[in-house]
Point group: D2
Chain length 326, copies 4
């Protein structure tokens, strides 16, 4: 009999991102993407999209370089948290418990084999709208903002890896993610993998870092769900000096209707313009895209990806060729 799946990690809770230009980064997320500020403390500002239920889903921290601060996952229960902490400890990648962060309870910190900082937690604070932001739409945590083209919720994170296999294995075996799709080269190695604990095709994606960097971030993604909103935000990006790297276009992998931009601090941000497809099958066989399938895998239709897409990540490394267009 097949071993039962692990249901211990529930969802992507939040991402911390570093920015060398925090004011401009905040302008981008608040004025163009319509996000809301929950809190400021030290060099950090906490943000959430208007359909995010928790205290924050994005923490912007001032730093010398762009890049990933950490990725936080929420467990499905206190017991599940403890089980996963035990599993992480066994890998030697655990760093220990951390308390005192605003908006959440104790979190267990660890890294991926490639060195990306992560944490796992159970207790979270729920966002509570002040009276003027309360909406009669009781399943929406606050009124829809009237600024920019407001994103709805955090969707996923994409991390670059110096080596794919140990990192993917860590996500699958230690944290209990499911492999949904992957791109496999002729030599049998993966160059990209999409994994999830939810029916989303990916809560996290991992891709190889052709520059050999360790622990770099490729992008974070916020969700719109409606294709028109990618057209609407594209208008605002072009007219407000934000370089669109690629999109709107449709990936074959994940069926995501995508738009990629570089926020003023240098990090890549994806906006997701439809629902993609959802995986409810509890016995899902990963979709394998091979080299001969790559063209359709990467772009099903619409805007192509530039070469920089496959090399540029944060922190920025290498020569100028890896910088995004413009």
């Amino acid at each position: 009999m097949r071993k039962e799946p692990i249901f211990d990690v529930a969802q992507l809770a939040h991402v911390e991102m570093y920015s060398p230009k925090p004011d401009e980064t905040l302008w981008f997320f608040k004025e163009l993407l319509g996000m809301e500020e929950s809190h400021r403390e030290g060099q950090s500002v906490y943000l959430r999209a208007y359909e995010d239920f928790y205290h924050h889903t994005l923490k912007i921290t001032e730093a010398k370089e762009a890049g990933l601060g950490h990725v936080a996952w929420r467990a499905t229960s206190q017991q599940a948290l403890e089980r996963r902490v035990s599993a992480i400890k066994e890998t030697g990648l655990g760093k220990g418990w951390f308390e005192g962060e605003v908006g959440q309870g104790a979190a267990y910190q660890f890294t991926t084999p490639d060195g990306h900082n992560m944490e796992l937690l159970w207790e979270v604070d729920y966002y509570k709208a002040p009276p003027e932001l309360r909406t009669p739409l009781l399943n929406r945590p606050q009124k829809k903002p009237t600024r920019g083209v407001p994103v709805r919720r955090l969707d996923h994170v994409n991390l670059m890896n110096s080596e794919m296999k140990p990192n993917v294995d860590f996500m699958l075996n230690t944290l209990g993610f499911n492999l949904r799709e992957h791109i496999q080269l002729k030599d049998g190695n993966d160059v990209a993998a999409w994994m999830s604990v939810s029916p989303l095709v990916h809560d996290i994606a991992m891709m190889g870092d052709p520059l050999g960097g360790m622990g770099r971030m490729h992008h974070i993604c916020y969700w719109y769900g409606y294709p028109q909103h990618l057209m609407d935000i594209s208008d605002l990006f072009v007219e407000n000096g934000i370089k669109i790297e690629a999109g709107p276009g449709k990936h074959g992998v994940t069926q995501a209707y995508f738009l990629y931009v570089i926020e003023p601090g240098g990090n890549r941000v994806e906006l997701f313009g439809d629902a993609g497809y959802l995986i409810f099958d509890p016995d899902w066989k990963p979709i394998t895209w091979r080299e001969e399938d790559l063209e359709k895998a990467i772009i099903w239709y619409g805007s192509q990806l530039p070469q920089e897409f496959f090399q540029y990540g944060t922190p920025i490394i290498g020569d100028k060729k890896t910088a995004p267009i413009g």
Copy 2:
């Protein structure tokens, strides 16, 4: 410490629906909704949407009256199936194992307290496209049909109940569903409840039957995911003699962008035109809509629901007032 959630039921697998006019019902699902026929046997025809991965998600069976045949749920594993069968047996609502249905392995049959037929299964057959229907989009089981406005996948089922509480409790406690939203009257009783095992706001909804019927079906729902498709299919419905009961419009509850029609056999079918919102929170507190919230709960904006919406179900009972408009 909070008891851990049950993860034993994975998804809605298929629905069997009775039709007194099977040819017209098939025309509706195949020519207007673009569904594909997988198999015919006896008085039944098996259908699937082009993004449904299994052998079928809809079984149309000829019968004297419209109504629900049964609802099939897929377990998350063989072990999970066995655990739930034990739990069902304890309620006295179990009917026993059934083998020999096309497209699936053994299924355990049971009823809700109100008498709706259901089954739980683990083994399913996957749809395999013939060469002419294979698509380079490897995560899509077949090419998109060029007939009608094709629905993408089965979404949920809505059942009417003579009494709400025992039926909702059965879904929550025996099968492990989560209560996502509910409408509560001043007397504390629910008149409607939306429940899911997935991040969808509902894999199943239950509503009171004001005519006191038992085991009736309110509707099944197929998913488009794009608002435009509700406009497109509305055009086809109006011009091809299918009465639109309500929509397009947006519910407050579930945030679904909806369209309701009566198929030629008499059953109500919903088409879902966006992604609604998804619930990833493993500790979700149900949204309670009270009488004073009802107006926005039912219609957030757009098309209103006629009175018949709250009374008409299949099989049809009562006098003509319960029949859908037109």
Copy 3:
């Protein structure tokens, strides 16, 4: 040989609207509909949508009662203006030339037989964006605003009439409009008529006033062109206290995807969510909707119109039953 058509009136240039609550009316047009203020003078504020090329398309004037100030039409040339002025003078409805209005040259003022104030002009001032609002999209007069869900341009005006025939005849014969569609009762009289000088199905509509008022306005309409924007603005309306009277829905007449709201000053405003259909045929035969066609004429699909829609106009007359819902 058929008499040649008149091409002397080119377009709807602007509308002046009265508001007893000018601050709230301005908030509605600027913060929710994203319109831009061009000028203030006396009790009037001049506004335009971001794709309107002229100085203004809406003039809000403080007044004791809501209602129409005037409708301004632009001629196709100076010569065309003079020809139409002669024709208007022959009807006895001319009031004379008016100079000194901001944003335009001399305008010839007149009324419809029902008493709606109108003017015809040739010279207009073009909007010139300040440096910070200039866009590289050279065919767009300014950057797209980041407030609300910005409307794109003025579309049409709809006027109520105590008597249809003399008013429609005036538009057709004296000004050279084309009758595109009309609703005809069994007695042969029209209750509504849609007329245009452009390929739009209507630059102006006229409908009977069942309360017998004279010179009332039914609504003005601004254009989005994208269906999603009606969903987006509906969200903002519901959450910001603006009553949606009807929509989103699709009219049979004009094929307009519509949304009707009452702005805080009391005037009805329509938002147009698609392109409708365009009439390029120079020999167009008017579409006649008869009583038996009315259901589909009024609503092709989607949200129904409440009874108030056919009675409420500005200035408000009659008892409370004519007031919009809520």
Copy 4:
């Protein structure tokens, strides 16, 4: 006083296109674009979109090579037709009257200076739907087809020219078109011009032929009006072997949301996915895009155009480099 505009040409009436693979070309237009066949005669098949009011808007004629048969324009009246025929005769480009074509009255044939065949006519036959195709939507000539993703109406034609100036001047001065937008090189010469007699930004576009061909066609365009339909038809194109050359994407020039494909006969076809913007201003000053504006002129956002887009036309000339991708 400014000279008055000419209003003698009303609209693009139809286009004749040559195909060396007429069966495959018909399959493309009928099964994927949902067009309707009106008539067959000799080597020609006559088609129309479901919102085209006349007998046909596309005539497919079997020929050895792909390319333009002719472009037909409808005059605004019989008198207007005669005035334009006189003007054409003065240029020496007239060929004479032609009668006997199905679906229309007498047409005056002529060529552009570059040799593109054109005709001007007044009398047209209107399409009359058979009973089974009649729709209660009285302003729609027939029911919406249930095949493919049906286009709504003919939109415009784009012709390549060995020399721009004489051809653009002919359209403007002899036929009375208005120049709406143009791309001007540093030497003051235009490489592309968009012209119309209607508020559409272009009923016809002309662009230079870098291969020096004469009388070639760049593309014909059919209109959807809704962005989603470009996503929908893209799916069908990719899965049914039709190469998407570019799109979906948004042009700066014309603000068209575009998709370009090569139909099986070799001709380029554009699908137009929104309303673009409309020009009602009777005194429109052409938008001039200079070399420094070109990037945004060509692509405002979304899919880029490949190099072939600027060279490939029909009939095909030159070496393989001019062939479309794939």
